[in-house]
């Protein structure tokens, strides 16, 4: 039985294909369209999922859409009615947009695209899809499941208990009380783009102190049983127009940051006084988010009596909070690597499978579910654009060469195997560099990725050596958030000078543990780099330019290579030098 899960219409459209045996393929549409957070119909992701498994639409038994459109529309209209006086034109605009983008009947769009009867298309609820993606991909038999995001239909957060019999929802938090929406609103207040700038806020938080904690206490307060309330009078959640916050929030936090301004540094590496306030607000927001997530997670563990916790929903990508939950609640945490709406496509398929077949969990040990390109395809792209290359006959020679390049402080684009599922580059579509070079953070930020110089980079480290450099245990349970770059840990104080380019200003790093059984090529590369430098760590960032989706194909990689300050590009066994194409 082949089940296709789909998410689209809002952000991070995706397709995921599963059968009774496991997960067959999964991909975000943005990888094919190269339009970041693409919300369009995921036709290319669907085509990939089918073609890579040699299937046609006729062989798909069921397609599951990730949310309930009627219920979502009901929420939008209900919210609008509350604000009819202030935003009389809002509903007209939303209706036009929904008609234009075909949002009223996603099931019909699916049936049309796949040329199948409507009876084979169904939908689930948004947070049900998230919860399923978290639990059914986890390594746990029994677990508490927490979902948190902006908003689905009405729900913004849920707590469930999952065991082999299924997932039972215990608590549901409803709109407008949404941690995701609060985080996004303050992201916009800090001058960053919603659904994109949240990572920048996390980075900025490292420069600040939570001096606005009291202010945030008036925005969000915690209630018993893992629930919380948000004071919606500071926000424009019901009828979001240009900005999701209002004058009341400005009165509370001060002037919003101009999106065009640059986040500055003094010579000490700290922001100037004007930006310090914004960094403090970011830090306060982050603390508020962590406190809330801890509150919900603690309640989830208590209510279910479990020591295992699963996360999904966009808030699950908050790697600082994930670390805090692990450490403070001393639990086993699994975060579905595509925790945003993309992952809900997979969750929808897995939930339907659990309800209709004897299959239940499909532990997701690695994220390499995307499209892969053969040597012939790589060579064709190189020839098409007249790019000279060196081809290595074997993996050992290739690894030795690339490790040497990294040791010599060259910045390398790295495309190998299938692309990753989720927003993190985990060694198959990565930009790699030497973390020991103190200038490397600025080089990669400004000359390669053309983004803000304060943005931190992640370290990819050999799993068994991580404890030597980071404050982590010697052994990690399987599928820990650190394997998916979803947790931030302190760098040992004594090692910070050795790893200046991956150590954030607050002494932390967003760790990526690399296991040989998960990605042997990447593991061997880091080992070879270790042999040359004595450092079993490489700087790893996603292979893309600012505002672009991560690369998918050899052409994407080549183009990004050509337009960036990358020194070398490695695709399969082919090595391309910038010097040879300039």
């Amino acid at each position: 039985m082949n089940i296709l899960g789909l998410s689209f219409g809002y952000h991070d459209s995706a397709a995921a294909l599963v059968n009774e045996e496991g997960i067959l393929a999964a991909a975000e549409e943005e990888r094919f369209s190269r339009s970041k957070h693409d919300n369009g119909f995921p036709s290319r992701a669907i085509d990939y999922c089918l073609s890579t498994n040699g299937l046609t639409a006729l062989e798909i038994d069921t397609v599951v859409y990730y949310e309930n459109t009627a219920l979502k529309w009901d929420r939008i209209v209900s919210s609008y009615v509350e604000e009819l006086d202030q935003h009389p034109e809002y509903l007209d605009r939303v209706i036009s947009s929904w008609i234009y983008h075909g949002k009223f009947d996603p099931e019909a769009a699916i049936a049309r695209y796949l040329d199948m009867p409507m009876s084979r298309v169904c939908s689930l609820n948004h947070h049900q899809s998230h919860a399923a993606s978290a639990y059914f991909c986890s390594p746990f038999s029994g677990a508490a499941v927490v979902t948190m995001d902006g908003v689905g239909e009405y729900e913004t957060a849920t707590i469930s208990h999952a065991d082999p019999d299924g997932i039972t929802k215990l608590i549901s938090q409803s709109f407008p009380h949404s941690l995701g929406l609060l985080y996004s609103a303050v992201t916009a207040f800090l001058g960053f783009e919603v659904n994109e700038g949240e990572y920048k806020v996390m980075g900025m938080a490292g420069f600040g102190e939570p001096n606005y904690h009291d202010a945030f206490s008036s925005l969000l307060y915690l209630k018993p049983d893992g629930e919380f309330e948000i004071d919606p009078s500071y926000f424009e959640f019901n009828c979001p127009d240009r900005l999701p916050f209002n004058e009341r929030l400005c009165a509370l936090l001060g002037k919003p940051r101009d999106p065009r301004s640059r986040f500055s540094f003094a010579s000490t590496g700290k922001p100037d006084p004007e930006d310090q306030r914004y960094a403090d607000i970011a830090s306060s927001l982050q603390k508020c988010a962590e406190d809330t997530i801890l509150h919900i997670s603690a309640a989830a563990l208590t209510k279910t009596g479990e020591r295992n916790l699963c996360f999904a929903g966009g808030v699950g990508l908050n790697s600082l909070a994930n670390a805090s939950v692990k450490n403070r609640l001393n639990c086993n945490l699994y975060v579905q690597p595509a925790a945003g709406d993309d992952g809900a496509a997979l969750g929808a398929a897995l939930q339907w499978r659990a309800e209709n077949t004897s299959s239940s969990r499909s532990g997701l040990k690695n994220v390499y579910l995307g499209k892969e390109y053969s040597s012939d395809e790589i060579e064709l792209a190189l020839d098409r654009h007249g790019v000279p290359f060196t081809q290595y006959e074997n993996q050992t020679g290739l690894i030795s060469e690339v490790a040497s390049l990294l040791a010599e402080d060259f910045v390398v684009g790295w495309l190998q195997g299938p692309f990753e599922w989720g927003p993190r580059a985990l060694g198959n579509r990565s930009i790699l560099a030497n973390p020991a070079n103190p200038d490397m953070q600025e080089i990669v930020n400004t000359k390669v990725k053309f983004r803000e110089p304060f943005r931190p980079f992640a370290p990819s480290v050999l799993a068994e050596r991580a404890h030597e450099y980071f404050e982590v245990p010697e052994y990690f349970p399987e599928c820990s958030p650190e394997e998916f770059m979803l947790s931030v840990v302190p760098v040992h104080e004594a090692q910070r000078a050795a790893l200046p380019s991956i150590t954030h200003v607050d002494g932390t790093a967003r760790l990526h543990l690399v296991r040989r059984d998960v990605n042997n090529l990447f593991y061997d590369l880091i080992s070879a780099f270790d042999q040359l430098t004595g450092v079993p760590v490489v700087l790893n960032t996603s292979f893309n330019l600012q505002d672009e989706a991560m690369v998918n194909s050899p052409y994407d990689a080549l183009e990004t290579f050509a337009w960036s300050g990358l020194d070398f590009l490695v695709m399969g066994k082919f090595v391309i030098s910038k010097g040879d194409i300039s």
Binding site: S33, R34, S35, K36, R384, H385, G386, V387, E548, Y555, L558, E559, A562, W563, I581, S582
Partner: protein
């Protein structure tokens, strides 16, 4: 003969409306009496702009009556629901700046096709006669021509040249000839003919040379959308016989703009960059395959585009030098180059950003063009022996008080004046004339 000028129904910048009126008056100067009107809602706003004239209330369909020519200064793309009388000539002056057609502001509405009033050379040669008789491209051996008589007088081939230049082949030794090539930025689509930089260059150099008993003529062979290959062809067809002393290729944007999207084999292996619509012409002719995409999913690599551009400019240089001329590559400026744009330029950039946000592929193309044009001067410099003028740097460093660009590619009259000054200073310095 009377002319009615209808002012915008929207609140446009007074500066823009003032210029629109001035250009309209200049264009129809001598045709007859000019009358002004404005819709009731903008009447007060624009009364000050035409303070020496009576500004009537515009009533659609009624105010037009009795006028031989009507000019609507408007942001609208079309003028609808007006029944003009037989023989009435109608123009639209496009006031808004976010008009990515690269077309000048005057658009003939009626008659629907050009006639010899609008384009006196309409029947001069067979390709004009067989052409579309509308603004835009027309087929021509060795490439295509572009007819834009609405921006002011053009010659039978669409160039902004008003004189019979063939006698210049036997000019005196003290008479310098400069031939300018390029796309719409050289054509100076947003400048009137006396405002375009080739005319200003002729004026500036003329003043300096006059003092030493010499003179200069500058001919503008710039034509919308031309890439360097077409500049070369234009040179061979029209200019080589004149043996110009100096040839200026004021270019960069179009080769990048099309080089990004052209067939990779042609760009990469043969240094051929062509106007993208040539693919569509081929499709129309042969009806083979799918309609070519305007913006393909894959762009060419920047190194290959640069290599092709430089190779073809080198070829152009060699041809010019073989004829005893001097070749100057003027790397054209873009609005994206400006370090401190004027507030009105910022406004335009914000509108453009908003427009592009809905189309990621187009946005990426614009970003690539901006980045490559900024890099181009240093690449030309690295190449060693090109004589070039780095306008991206000149425009980057011009202060925020100066509004130099009309849109992201085309300079306004002040920008063209700056371009003319740079060329003039460059030439006078090399000629060692003060």
């Amino acid at each position: 003969m009377t002319i009615l000028i209808v002012l915008p129904e929207t609140d446009e910048d007074i500066e823009d409306v003032d210029r629109a009126i001035r250009l309209t008056v200049e264009r129809f100067n001598g045709y007859g009496e000019i009358t002004y009107s404005a819709p009731k809602k903008t009447l007060i706003r624009y009364a000050a702009v035409v303070r020496n004239y009576t500004l009537g209330v515009y009533v659609p369909g009624e105010s037009e009556a009795g006028h031989d020519t009507v000019v609507y200064i408007t942001e609208r793309q079309t003028i609808e629901e007006i029944e003009w009388s037989e023989g009435q000539r109608v123009y639209r002056y496009q006031i808004n700046r976010l008009n990515l057609s690269g077309r000048g502001p005057f658009h003939q509405v009626r008659p629907a096709e050009f006639d010899e009033i609008e384009h006196p050379h309409l029947n001069r040669h067979v390709f004009n006669r067989l052409g579309p008789k509308k603004w835009g491209f027309e087929n021509f051996p060795y490439g295509c021509l572009y007819m834009d008589p609405e921006s002011g007088p053009v010659d039978p081939f669409g160039f902004r040249i008003q004189e019979d230049y063939l006698p210049l082949a036997s000019r005196d030794k003290d008479h310098f000839l400069i031939a300018v090539f390029g796309g719409s930025a050289a054509f100076s689509v947003y400048c009137q003919i006396n405002e375009m930089f080739p005319a200003r260059l002729e004026h500036k150099l003329g003043l300096a040379l006059e003092r030493i008993g010499q003179r200069v003529t500058v001919l503008n062979f710039g034509m919308h959308d031309n890439v360097v290959m077409q500049e070369m062809m234009t040179y061979l067809l029209f200019a080589q016989q004149l043996r110009p002393d100096v040839v200026i290729s004021h270019s960069g944007h179009n080769d990048i703009w099309y080089g990004l999207r052209n067939d990779p084999y042609l760009v990469t292996h043969h240094n051929i960059i062509y106007q993208q619509h040539s693919e569509y012409w081929s499709y129309l002719l042969h009806q083979e395959g799918a309609v070519p995409e305007e913006i393909p999913a894959e762009f060419n690599l920047k190194q290959n585009i640069l290599a092709a551009m430089i190779a073809r400019h080198r070829q152009f240089q060699e041809i010019v030098e073989a004829g005893g001329g001097r070749f100057i590559w003027g790397v054209q400026p873009l609005l994206f180059d400006r370090k401190s744009p004027h507030p009105r330029e910022i406004e335009y950039l914000e509108d453009l950003t908003k427009f592009l946000s809905a189309d990621p592929r187009r946005r990426k193309m614009y970003n690539r063009v901006a980045s490559l044009i900024a890099e181009l001067p240093s690449r030309v410099d690295e190449d060693g022996d090109f004589e070039y003028v780095d306008f991206p740097s000149v425009f980057a460093d011009a202060g925020p008080g100066r509004e130099l660009m009309w849109d992201h590619v085309h300079a306004n009259p002040e920008g063209d004046d700056l371009i003319a000054r740079c060329y003039s200073e460059h030439l006078l310095a090399t000629w060692e004339i003060e």
